[in-house]
Symmetry: C2
Subunit: 398 residues, 2 copies
């Protein structure tokens, strides 16, 4: 019908005319580029997309009301590129305002449970063998995921100048792989915090198995970063800041300030953005409730009020795209097992989430900041970065 085609055209206009083709259930096609093809399978879906594309594109893709031909990642890349031009669809996201997320202690627990307690069995299907669910570091793009995750851990150890016997606090430790690496390879004494019950249970069992559980090795503590006490020589947080929320950055800075020794180093590794934009409604509601990737400016709320000096910022955006490509490839290989654990719409939702994240990093709507800091006037800072060169590139297990 003419009316449906008019709506579809309006939708594409609102999306900034992405370089895609778009078709309706009755085969009517609109072409704004030679790229992948979007197929909207019914009128109700078309209406919902008009109402709130950033929410219903995800829901209706998961439900099978939308198909994408010619590659989901290239499709989402085209949409992202159009959205970063004037007429930005992401800016039309309804409801939440940026920085509006509060993330109280109990809200944080619910949010983290939603995503990270989907079952270790599920994550084991597509993460590396140490279950690292953060950006890897590829000294060469062709490195295996396992080697790249080890290279990432090695890079972090070198950046903070970790030495044997040093006390490390890790805020947000996932399944505990980094903490175990620090204890095994550097003889560090690590206290690793996490509010995901399932992750902590897994991490403890793994450390016990490897004989490094306890105060001389790794202690996993099921608690919020705001409750961290004690003292440390190195403060690490890899992939937690995304869940903290900008209103809490100052509190995080105070936690670091009361725990880090005078000559200690800290490193924060987080997804970020060039400009402050909320996550799409779909990601916020269905995938990562309460999440927000900060800009560098916003991250300064952690460091400035407590008087820390920023030593080094590295943007590893393309490394996260590469990491996600590995994850997506493994995920697709285990599609049937995922469907058996959940259902078909879960498979589609997670395919969209992983693909959308790849597109976010390749088009630059997402960044990955690794930021090294210390207290003002700490002259133990390394003279050059030469100790970071060729990090992990000679890993035997390629």
């Amino acid at each position: 019908m003419e009316w449906d085609r008019w709506l579809l055209k309006a939708l594409l206009r609102g999306m900034g005319q992405p370089a895609i083709r778009a078709a309706l259930w009755d085969d009517g096609e609109i072409v704004t580029g030679s790229g992948p093809r979007l197929v909207v399978n019914n009128r109700w879906t078309l209406f919902r997309l008009m109402l709130n594309p950033t929410l219903y594109f995800g829901d209706d893709y998961a439900a099978g009301n939308i198909e994408v031909e010619g590659g989901l990642v290239p499709f989402l890349e085209a949409v992202n590129r159009a959205a970063s031009r004037p007429g930005d669809v992401r800016r039309r996201s309804t409801g939440r305002r940026q920085r509006g997320t509060i993330n109280s202690l109990s809200q944080s627990r619910d949010n983290i449970h939603h995503h990270y307690d989907l079952g270790n069995e599920f994550y084991r299907l597509w993460l590396d063998d140490e279950m690292l669910y953060t950006c890897a570091y590829f000294p060469r793009p062709g490195l295996s995921l396992e080697a790249a995750q080890r290279a990432k851990m090695e890079l972090i150890c070198r950046k903070v100048g970790l030495r044997g016997g040093e006390r490390v606090i890790e805020a947000g430790c996932g399944w505990g792989g980094l903490a175990r690496y620090l204890a095994k390879h550097y003889g560090a004494r690590v206290r690793a915090f996490n509010i995901s019950r399932e992750q902590v249970a897994y991490a403890r069992k793994q450390a016990e198995k490897e004989g490094i559980e306890g105060i001389e090795g790794v202690e996993y503590i099921e608690d919020d970063y705001r409750n961290i006490t004690g003292e440390c020589d190195v403060f690490l947080s890899v992939g937690m800041l995304e869940h903290v929320g900008p209103t809490n950055y100052r509190s995080l800075g105070q936690v670091i300030d009361r725990t880090l020794t005078g000559r200690g180093f800290g490193l924060i590794h987080s997804i970020g953005q060039d400009v402050p934009e909320p996550m799409t409604d779909w990601i916020d509601k269905r995938i990562f409730p309460g999440s927000y990737p900060p800009t560098i400016r916003e991250m300064m709320d952690i460091f400035e009020p407590s008087g820390f000096s920023v030593i080094d910022v590295e943007n590893l955006r393309l490394h996260y795209a590469r990491t996600l490509e590995h994850w997506l490839e493994r995920f697709e290989r285990h599609e049937e097992q995922v469907a058996a654990l959940f259902d078909e719409s879960f498979v589609r939702a997670w395919r969209l989430y992983l693909s959308g994240s790849i597109a976010g990093f390749t088009t630059g709507s997402l960044q990955l900041f690794q930021l090294l800091f210390t207290r003002r006037g700490n002259n133990r800072v390394p003279w050059t970065r030469d100790h970071l060169a060729n990090c992990g590139g000679n890993d035997a297990a390629l």
Copy 2:
């Protein structure tokens, strides 16, 4: 007199009780530490110090009303360390509010003239042979100043991935050494902007002498960064941002936005700070009018509104301390010549300025940020930093 000693005690309290000894003209001494010794030579100076220490310490040191025994740099380091504790003397700086400096086109011209047009003859006495008046890069702390300045230029070229024939715009080019390096060693075509007449004249003559002046090599243009037009593959600004003022960062971003090509790279190298504080009144009035070293947060005003991505931030604080130690050592060697060009109080003022800058960098009240950026989604970004390793470390001329 008891009254004078009471005033001196109050002064030291206001300074946060630095680890120094302080004495009056009548030999009365107050000890707040075992460090260097401040001698106030008359009552009038003591009064002025009470009124505004951040202005009159400099003026009265230059005039010889204040002496420092046991090393000016250690003395200023002790004062800086005390000032970064509560009761901060720097916060008591009167008059100007941070970000309040406007720096219009004509004001900028006056400010730059004040410092940079003191005569090339003067600067030639203590800068390196290419007259680079910005932080050098010491791959090894023992490198010569000349080699370290070359290493800095090489590091910058590698960071921006400079290739033969590329068009470079340099905003604030000093005596033009970096621009000449780009043309000679990389075959770049450089347009270098500066509002200091004396510097531009020197730079042009030097380029003519070396046969690289002109549109295929280096063009030096006496104009403000706000008037830059044209297109470039690489945008550089090394040691200008300190004179721009935070209210103009957005304009600088617009200049870069209208000149940098889609896949180009930019690098800004600037003195900075962890927290926003005005320069001391003495530096602002006597040495660098209108100058302000930004925080990373403030620098984001250049990048965020124009949608640039930050790729890499390196803090070279200790390299600037080392650079300044070279300058101060050469300056002292030519003390008599400087006194003949100006007078004894000029010598003392510049000794204080160079020493205070060393102390600023060693204690961390000053930072040096080198920041690499590009447009959103530019996937030409290098995969690792390995191409930056051992930069300049094998320079033959040590």
